[in-house]
């Protein structure tokens, strides 16, 4: 740890700031490995690594409680019956809320990080705020509080990108619900979030959307998620032999929101240009979830018939670094905004520039021309143009040289401690502080 960071830790400790933190997670990473629970567990490990007493309190479906693997003594599971969970206002049943409160008070923290409210219930978070015995930070992982459509900010049923959350707009997406119900939903979330010590977002974009929605900017903090493990020898890549094809790797779940369809369309165009087809390889990693049979049939057929298109199958978190190092670029094709995709940090850590759409959290994390290339989101022709432009040794070398430092678990933990130890800014109307920048510097 650099001396300056050690000094900051000592300073915080000397000021009597938060040193005992309970982390609430909507799931345990031994059961599922979604971005939110992985980030929560990374924070837990990061806090322990910098000497903070931390507890990890995870909600778990009651039928899976026996499958949870608790790796440390301060990990607690709160089982819940999913049938009694309200997915509209995100209210947990009173008994679940009581168990969450009991688990937190049993640990007696001076701060609580509600790493998502899903499954835990926003009412549980509110109860902890009302008790007033610990500062409560709430972490945003997608737009769930302001968008009932899986928090994606994508309209139903057209999947057009939604620019702004509003009760009437939401009621247009959900005709079965009244405007009044969406007003109540907003009011209920705001009631809790506006009284949290901090609302922490991994991206400026996400924080900005919540500010537009009505959350006081003074509550918002931006802290990037850290990587659970920093790869050894990162960015040490072998020199690419001349004439070798450029490998563009897709990493992530293959579902309709992730837009792999764009890659397939780009591949169709590549197939019509033999010279280009000999210079490019597209390698897709991930599992197929929630796609139409027509898509999956087409996907399989193209993989069979196009020699430059490869499906490498599903992968584990432990494999991702090695798999990425076999690629030259990481490609993101998401047709929704994205928040702060872990795959971008993983790519940076593996030394890969990222090609992504020019919207939302991914555009924020990938600096066009510096750490990767943007294309017009949803436009497969634009994606292909970006890939062709990227297939150039000079550009590749320049982009690799611009990659930022990796945010570690410890970086993330320090930023959280500071956010929870600092009083919110008294003045309203200013931009959210950029904790990610501070952590990465």
């Amino acid at each position: 740890m650099p001396d300056t960071m050690l000094e900051r830790d000592r300073t915080l400790q000397a000021r009597g700031e938060v040193r005992r933190i309970a982390i609430l997670s909507h799931a345990h990473p031994s059961i599922s490995k979604g971005g939110a629970e992985v980030a929560a567990y990374t924070l837990y490990n990061g806090l322990r690594a910098i000497g903070v007493d931390a507890a990890f309190i995870a909600a778990c479906p009651i039928e899976q409680a026996d499958r949870v693997e608790l790796a440390t003594v301060n990990e607690v599971v709160v089982p819940f019956d999913g049938r009694n969970y309200d997915h509209y206002y995100h209210l947990a049943a009173p008994d679940v809320s009581a168990r969450v409160t009991s688990a937190v008070t049993g640990f007696a923290p001076d701060a609580v990080v509600a790493n998502h409210f899903f499954n835990i219930g926003i009412n549980s978070v509110r109860t902890l705020i009302d008790r007033g015995t610990a500062r409560v930070g709430v972490v945003l992982h997608e737009f769930l509080a302001i968008c009932h459509h899986h928090g994606q900010m994508v309209k139903r049923p057209t999947r057009v990108l939604c620019e702004r959350s509003s009760p009437s707009g939401c009621a247009a997406c959900f005709p079965e619900a009244s405007v009044g119900r969406f007003i109540m939903r907003r009011r209920n979330f705001l009631d809790t979030l506006s009284r949290a010590h901090a609302v922490i977002s991994p991206s400026r974009f996400l924080a900005g959307r919540f500010a537009e929605w009505g959350l006081d900017e003074r509550r918002l903090q931006v802290i990037e998620n850290g990587l659970a493990e920093t790869p050894v020898g990162w960015r040490e890549r072998a020199v690419k032999p001349e004439g070798e094809p450029w490998v563009f790797g897709y990493f992530g779940q293959i579902n309709p929101f992730k837009g792999v369809e764009l890659l397939l369309r780009a591949a169709e165009q590549i197939a019509q240009d033999k010279a280009l087809a000999s210079r490019i390889r597209i390698r897709i990693h991930g599992n197929l979830v929630g796609n139409t049979p027509e898509f999956e049939e087409r996907f399989a057929k193209m993989v069979r018939t196009l020699p430059f298109l490869e499906y490498a199958g599903a992968y584990s978190n432990e494999q991702v670094d090695a798999l990425m190092r076999r690629c030259d670029y990481a490609v993101m094709t998401s047709v929704w905004w994205e928040n702060s995709p872990l795959v971008i940090q993983e790519a940076y850590a593996a030394g890969l520039p990222v090609i992504c759409g020019d919207i939302g959290g991914m555009a924020e994390k990938v600096h066009n021309g510096l750490t990767g290339l943007h294309y017009r989101a949803g436009d497969h022709a634009a994606l292909l143009r970006a890939m062709v432009a990227a297939a150039d040794p000079v550009r590749h070398e320049a982009l690799c040289g611009g990659l930022p430092a990796t945010v570690t678990a410890e970086d993330m933990a320090r930023a959280y401690v500071e956010a929870l130890s600092t009083e919110p800014e008294p003045a309203a109307g200013r931009a959210a502080p950029l904790r990610w920048d501070a952590a990465a510097s």
């Binding site: 009694n84 309200d86 206002y89 009173p94 009581a98 009244s178 007003i183």
Partner: protein, 691 residues
């Protein structure tokens, strides 16, 4: 003559006189009833019961002098009579339809000045009438004119013949009848009856001299009968024997204790048929099939005449369109029954020769006739694909009508539609039970606009609204206590069925309960929706954490929790209460205000902090008020019952002096203002004002 023969003759004489006495009947004191209406169009209706046999249907005769004009049985529901303690399981209502009065036109001149009367068959008991009944001539003058140019169905001839033969058979009942085995000519194997007095038999005979004859049925006592049969070949019978199927006019009906039944016939009753044991009772639908099948193996008789009799205006045998003798297709698309009132029907009847004049629907034991004002004919171009040659007929093939009658939702079995055409002919059409619905709730009422887009302007709208409101009130069960903890004052909250909104009610109550006075109780009313179990769990979580009296009630529909208060308040012991309707959520200030109102007197309406479309800002609401239990319950006892459970203030503001309480006390997530038709029905109940 020997002494033995003389003794035998004397005994036969005595037995004959006894039989005659039994057959003619004696004065019965247990008979009660009344003729309540007599009209050429609607017919003659009323009720009759035999207190000695309250479960048995009575056969009634329409008489002019000593001439029997028509028969019918008591078969219509009369809840008022049954509620008065008269009658048993039988339906005591009766009606001689207008069509049944047709023979009045043909009475001899000597009888035309006689008054019509209704008599219980087999007795001299004449039903008293509320008003003096008209003479035969007066009543005949009021009958609708049937075009004489079109002859009636030939089945009517058979009917007249068997009525005449039954009268002739009274003579036979005076004779001694003995079941000499040598005189048995065959067996009765099946019987079938319909409500209009037609009685059908089937079986076989060794030989038969005539197909139409007077007869006597002996089943403990003697019943005269007029019989008309057809005979046909059946493979399981000897070649010389005949299978028979036919119709009888008789007052006999098999009862639960009926054993062997003998049918005597011949000039002096010298032949008889004996019933098989057990005697099979079948449907008129099977009789129709047997008649149809007899045509191919016919030996004697006119099965078509009998089929037409089954399909004639007085019969409810289903599916008679194929026997009508003219091309017709028909179906009902939709039936919405309003219990105790009638049905709205929509359907079609396509015939190139005929036009619909009247409709009637039999459902269970109830017959409903179309309100003459209500019948509406309209084009049905959607049928053109299946009937390419019927373009003209389709122009008025569709119909919509209101059929009035005391239909009950418990008894809508075997529905049959009778379509009567302008020339007096009719067909019966079985109704698919799947198209039948019962209107007992607000959303059902709204659906009636499908039948009449401007239903609220129809002359029968007020009656329809009153009937639906009455049915909704009658079918709404009480608030059932799940857990009761008494409290002198309580806030009663109606919980939405939706898991999200329901969870929010409990969550907010838990959060704000601390602002209430310590002794104040919380009472929740939930419905029976899919989230019921989760909401009970939410209540239990709240009860354990709230530290104050908490009660839970279940209602069939918590939208009507306002009306459930009459039972809830005494059960929880609350003298003072605040009420929060469904989809209403108290704000923090609202909880404090409701808590304060529990210790104040009088009726108070806190204000809303929302702009819900359709709701009047600042207006008092039945979904948010506080009052004392005693005056509220006294007012509610005579307050109108409103569909949907709430409309405006439900009339509360007119019940007592009231004051506005704090504004901004609650928010609504949706409007409680009902849709157009329901609002109009409620407005009538509220005295014509659109509250």
């Amino acid at each position: 003559m020997s002494a033995t023969e003389r003794a035998g003759a004397a005994l036969e004489d005595i037995l004959g006189k006894l039989d005659a006495a039994l057959g003619q009947g004696v004065q019965r004191v247990a008979l009660h009833g009344a003729v309540e209406g007599c009209d050429g169009e609607a017919g003659i209706e009323g009720w009759a019961v035999d207190l000695d046999s309250p479960d048995a249907a009575l056969r009634l005769e329409l008489v002019v002098g000593e001439s029997v004009i028509a028969h019918c049985h008591t078969a219509l529901a009369r809840p008022d009579v049954q509620l008065a303690g008269l009658g048993g399981r039988a339906r005591p209502g009766f009606r001689f339809s207008g069509r049944a009065l047709g023979p009045l036109h043909d009475l001899p001149a000597a009888l035309r000045g006689e008054r019509v009367a209704v008599r219980v068959s087999g007795t001299p008991y004449l039903l008293p009438a509320r008003e003096a009944l008209p003479t035969a001539e007066q009543l005949a003058g009021r009958l609708p004119r049937t075009p004489r140019a079109t002859p009636g169905p030939r089945g009517v001839d058979v009917k007249q013949a068997i009525v005449r033969l039954e009268a002739e058979a009274r003579r036979l009942t005076a004779l001694p009848l003995r079941p000499d085995p040598k005189a048995q000519l065959g067996h009765i194997e099946l019987v079938a009856a319909d409500e209009d007095g037609l009685f059908w038999i089937g079986g076989w005979v060794h030989s038969l001299d005539s197909l139409e004859f007077p007869a006597v049925i002996v089943d403990k006592r003697k019943f005269p009968a007029g019989v008309s049969l057809v005979a046909y070949q059946r493979d399981d019978l000897p070649a010389t024997a005949h299978a028979i199927i036919g119709v009888m006019e008789t007052g006999w009906r098999p009862g639960p204790d009926t054993g062997d039944v003998l049918l005597y016939f011949g000039a002096n009753g010298e032949h008889f048929l004996k019933s098989v044991s057990p005697l099979r009772r079948t449907s008129t639908a099977e009789v129709l099939t047997l008649l149809e099948n007899s045509k191919a193996r016919l030996r004697m008789g006119r099965p078509m005449d009998l089929q037409r009799l089954l399909s004639s205006g007085r019969s409810w045998a289903p599916d008679t369109a194929r026997l009508a003798g003219f091309p017709v297709q028909a179906a009902l698309d939709s039936v919405v029954a309003i219990p105790g009132f009638g049905c709205f029907v929509e359907g079609w009847a396509v015939s190139p020769l005929k036009q619909v004049a009247r409709l009637a629907l039999r459902a269970g034991g109830v017959v409903m006739d179309s309100d003459p004002v209500s019948l509406c004919l309209k084009p049905r171009p959607d049928l053109a694909d299946g009937m390419p040659q019927m373009a003209d007929a389709l122009q008025e093939a569709g119909f919509v009508a209101l059929l009035r009658g005391p239909v009950t939702p418990e008894d809508v079995s075997d529905p049959v539609l009778k379509i009567t055409f302008r020339d007096g002919t009719s067909v019966n059409q079985p109704v698919n039970p799947q198209v039948m619905r019962v209107a007992a709730r607000a959303e059902h009422a709204e659906a009636l606009s499908r039948f009449y887009p401007a239903l609220a302007a129809e002359p029968f709208f007020a009656e329809v609204g009153a009937a639906i409101r009455a049915q909704a009130e009658a079918s709404l069960g009480p608030a059932v206590a799940v857990r009761v903890t008494r409290a002198p004052g309580a806030i009663v909250l109606a919980v939405p069925d939706d898991l999200g909104d329901g969870s929010l009610v409990f969550d907010q109550a838990l959060r704000h309960a601390a602002t209430l006075p310590p002794e104040a109780g919380l009472c929740f009313v939930i419905g029976r929706g899919p989230a019921r179990s989760a909401l009970v769990a939410a209540f239990e979580g709240l009860r354990r954490a709230a530290g104050r009296p908490c009660s839970l009630f279940v209602m069939d529909d918590a939208d009507y929790a306002f009306y459930g208060l009459s039972g809830i308040l005494p059960e929880i012991g609350a003298d003072r209460f605040g009420f929060v309707g469904r989809h209403v959520f108290l704000t923090g200030a609202g909880w404090e205000e409701m808590g304060a109102l529990l210790s104040q007197d009088g009726l108070a309406f806190p204000g809303f902090d929302d702009r819900v479309p359709g709701e009047i800002p600042g207006a008092p609401s039945a979904d948010l008020f506080a009052w004392s239990a005693a005056p509220f319950r006294a007012w509610l006892a005579s307050a109108p019952f409103l569909l949907g459970g709430a409309q405006g203030d439900n009339g509360l503001a007119a019940a007592a002096d009231w004051r506005s309480a704090a504004p901004g006390a609650a928010l609504r997530t949706r409007t409680r203002r009902p849709a157009g038709l329901v609002m109009a029905m409620n407005a009538i109940a509220l005295g014509g004002s659109d509250a």
